[in-house]
Symmetry: C3
Subunit: 152 residues, 3 copies
């Protein structure tokens, strides 16, 4: 099977620089057989790709792209912790928080932006359990926040 | 001790069909000694038992019944992953997301619908850590979403 | 290195009484190498330190103090489960749910109240992965709820 970063390259993507540690928390922690990431925002090149709520200022399509970027940033956090994404045996869990207007109920479709990227990068090993929920607001007014747990 | 499915039968309940895998995620994943489920909605017979927000269109009583159904669906997801609920050594963690009007603060009572079912089914082994929080909206406008982690 | 409770004492803090088990859930569960706490509210002396939403009735500064209290209560829950906080090898994960007005985006600063306490108490071992999200409402109208996972 191709290396996860080769899969990303086929999608025209690369592992971004990991966001610098802030205060008393870090992008990811390894504990036992798991690496758990912090909640990742759709930062790209140091800026949020979009701000606002899905169903309002942010379209569902843009939110899908944001969720993919969150997953990409989560992979960067995992790579920074373990050195090589090929060491990932399984993506175990994804939680997607979607900043939503009270009538927007398409959180699963938004979260698919993250889930499908992980499936493309890791194949069968990328298939995970997932929760997707609406929230009223996220840090920096981001539209999506995604955290992942992987087995190494 | 009685088999968990016998306990369910005493409550007039059975393990439902597990919701089919959707896209790049699955109802549950086993990793190490844990099985983590996806967020479960109160689907029964292929339909949501209720839609809307607790404190609004959905009464607290109906929300408790929804939370119980979410837990039942989570057990179905666990059973589909490990084959037999008697292999569950401990329910470790429950997270209940309750779609809430901004002034509804009874999320713990709603979440008890899930927690008490797990306690009845597994006895001491069903006693878990839990978080219950309000959210503004959930997938498909469901009133409750519950995810669980069990040790096997 | 100083005992975690000595560190707390230097900050003028002590481990509080753990909240009594309610219904079918408990303050913390040990499973394998991890202890996972229930979501902790900013209870102090049996009462919430504040009620309402951050960005509204609750100031960001008061919310930071609430988040610290949640973390302190989480440490009480861990201690009650394992007997001695010196057995904590690593704080792995923190999730902070911040009851927020729709325009309040400072959840990370609020969550720092929990993260920084854990850093001061455990030093390097207190540095964790973290998610911070807004929610519309929390149990009992609490402004903050925090759950933690530690490795023992």
């Amino acid at each position: 099977m191709a290396h996860p970063e080769e899969r990303l390259a086929e999608l025209g993507l690369t592992v971004p620089e990991v966001a610098k540690p802030v205060a008393a928390y870090v992008p990811a922690v390894r504990s036992g057989i798991h690496v758990m990431t912090s909640g990742q925002l759709p930062m790209r090149g140091g800026e949020l790709m979009a701000t606002g709520k899905v169903g309002g200022a942010v379209s569902p399509e843009d939110a899908v792209a944001c969720a993919q970027q969150c997953a990409l940033n989560a992979l960067a956090a995992v790579k920074a912790e373990i050195g090589d994404l090929a060491l990932v045996k399984r993506v175990v869990k994804v939680v997607a928080f979607v900043s939503s207007t009270p009538d927007f109920t398409g959180q699963p479709q938004v979260a698919n932006g993250a889930s499908e990227l992980l499936g493309r990068v890791f194949g069968e090993a990328g298939v995970h359990a997932r929760s997707a929920v609406g929230v009223p607001v996220l840090p920096l007014d981001a539209p999506v926040e995604v955290e992942i747990v992987v087995e190494v």
